[in-house]
Amino acid sequence: MSTAKRRRRELRNAALMVGPFVLILLIFFLYPTYKVIALSFTDAPLIGEGEWIGLANYAKLLNDKLFYTSIWNNFYFVLLTVIPTTVIALLIALAVSKLKGRMQALILTLFFLPYVLPVSVVTLIWAWMLDFQFGILQPLIEAVTGKSVPVFKNPHWVMPMIAVVTIWWTNGFNVLLMIAGLRNIPTDLYEAAALDGATAWQRFWRVTWPLLWPVTALVLTLQLILQLKLFDQVYLLSKGGPFNSSYVVLMQMYREAFQLNNGGYASAIAMVLFLIIVIVSVLQFQLLRIGGRRK
């Protein structure tokens, strides 16, 4: 068989194999993406065509007070979750990795359990636990602050509490990643360090931390992206209130699209959030890489 013929056959086989995936990607991913971009330059309602209005949606967004509130809340939430969840996951992973065999598997399962729950169940559990009148956590809050607090109706409490719920819900996955990272560090490095005279603390700072850094950076980046997309917990726990104090960008987009029927404007909001996520996560990833190299 000639080389040309064989090449043609290889190409055909390759096309046949990637074809279905490319098709699905085109229909369900690229086309909608294109549509969102296109919509954001029109005044279209949710369903149906609209007029081309250029950058008017984006201009409107720049003067939208609620949008700034939402963006601010998004970043506040990132601040409340990303680093705390990473630190907590690291501490849990360090503790769990000291356990042996079945005990380790059991404890790990316990920490991972919340992650498999659907968000509606998670929010329901926490809404009960934090219920103003009957919540079993209210005595705890009372002990600290002196009085019961309707946490999801209090502007100061609402975001931190949603952050707590979110961390409780998603932390197991981060623990899993961290455990995998810790297991990848050969034990003889610790033995060598022990012989070199390293204390437990020095072993952590000089061996574990730098060698775990790639995983830590990964967890931080994944968390950043995930938490910027915050919607479900807010929607289910506080509906963005009170006084919009827990309003976030995706909530605003949801409201514009599905409650106010402003398809074009909602698309513009989505585009801006998309750009923010891309920029922030690329920036963070680069920063983390530089940080990693200096170690």
Partner: protein, 361 residues
């Protein structure tokens, strides 16, 4: 100051229910190069790690110099260990790897630099100091691992099969460098290996471990020439010693005659101080290099495989009774494959063992 380097007194180790080290006594003099050998799984690494303090000691005492270090932290024992896997810190440069212990001890910068450069000089690593371990060859990594140990200036160096990941040529080279290093530093060194040649060439004293005990210890040639039991006889020397079942048929003043069970027309006259009753079953041990091809009477061996190394050849075959035999010949291309050869041992080089494996002299 006494001249004790490392001393173990009735040291034992068990992992939960498994007794790995059942009672080991040994004394290694200051500045000696000691080698642990033994079959896989006999506890060589475990014993080394106990000396390092990486494994707890179940019973007994470990002394380094005059100090009892049985319950002392690894870092305070004055030992440095070179791991088989090198255990280099992958995120640190060669310099920082070697400087690690000094940094932990917060030594002044100038001292760190001086000590690391000195060690790098000895090991020819000066060019590599800025590289990361991943950018080094296997031999260079090995040298960094040794360098890390040298920088600490320990009383005792511990090596766990340090050369086993290197290719044959590099191994020979590193072996020589280790021997030179030992001469230069004069420190006590303990070295675990599988490799006969490493053990024989490097050691001042070899400890043969098996079944949780030291089977025999001594200078390499003493073990070769005068093994105290069948296990040591079979373990030291390559290829290993041939063993033949035999029966004592006669004894005379200071001599006995033993007949091969596998070839009853062949018997040997051996000098012995122990008087054995005729009829006693024994095992005769003869090294491949002490069997010579003869024209007349002898052990008839059917040769099936020849290993030709150029300078010497090892002929593998079987006796009529089915017992395996290896004998050595000088030179190559003897063309013995498939033939029956008659061989005779040098009678003053026959070792006699009881069937239980003890040496009878």
């Amino acid at each position: 100051m006494s001249d004790t380097g490392v001393q173990l007194k009735d040291v034992k180790k068990s992992f939960s229910v498994v007794d790995v080290i059942r009672g080991v006594d040994m004394e290694i003099k200051r500045g000696q190069f000691a080698v642990f050998v033994g079959p896989s799984g006999c506890g060589k690494s475990t014993l080394l790690r106990m000396i390092a303090g990486l494994e707890d000691t179940s019973a007994g005492k470990i002394l380094i110099g005059d100090r009892d270090v049985t319950d002392v932290d690894p870092a305070d024992r004055g030992v440095a260990m070179v791991f088989q896997s090198y255990a280099l810190y992958p995120h640190l440069s060669v310099f920082e790897n070697m400087a690690f212990s000094l940094r932990l001890a917060k030594r002044p910068k100038a001292e760190v630099k001086e000590k690391v450069h000195e060690a790098a000089q000895v090991l020819q690593l000066t060019e590599q100091l800025d590289k990361k371990p991943a950018q080094l060859s296997g031999g260079q990594r090995q040298r960094v691992a040794i360098g890390r140990a040298i920088v600490r200036a320990p009383e005792v160096f511990l090596f766990d099969e340090p050369l086993s990941n290197l290719d044959a040529e590099l191994r020979v080279q590193m072996r020589l460098e280790l021997a030179r290093l030992h001469l230069k530093l004069g420190a006590t060194m303990i070295y675990v290996t599988h490799d006969q040649v490493e053990a024989m060439t490097l050691a001042d004293v070899i400890f043969v471990l098996q079944g949780g005990y030291v089977q025999q210890s001594g200078a390499p040639l003493d073990l070769y020439e005068d093994p105290s039991n069948r296990f040591v006889a079979g373990f030291i020397g390559s290829p290993s010693m041939n063993f033949f079942n035999a029966t004592v048929v006669a004894r005379a003043d200071g001599r006995l005659t033993a007949r091969l069970d596998g070839q009853p027309d062949q018997s040997f006259d051996i000098a012995m101080t122990t008087a054995l009753e005729p009829g006693t079953p024994v095992t005769l041990g003869i090294r491949p290099e002490h069997l010579v091809v003869s024209e007349g009477e002898g052990m008839r061996v059917t040769v099936d495989v020849a290993e030709e190394l150029g300078g010497v050849s090892y002929q593998h075959g079987t006796l009529e009774g089915g017992e395996a035999v290896i004998f050595q010949q000088i030179g190559a291309r003897h063309g013995m494959h498939g033939t029956v050869q008659t061989i005779l041992p040098q009678t003053d080089r026959i070792f006699v063992f009881s069937r239980e494996g003890d040496r009878i002299r």
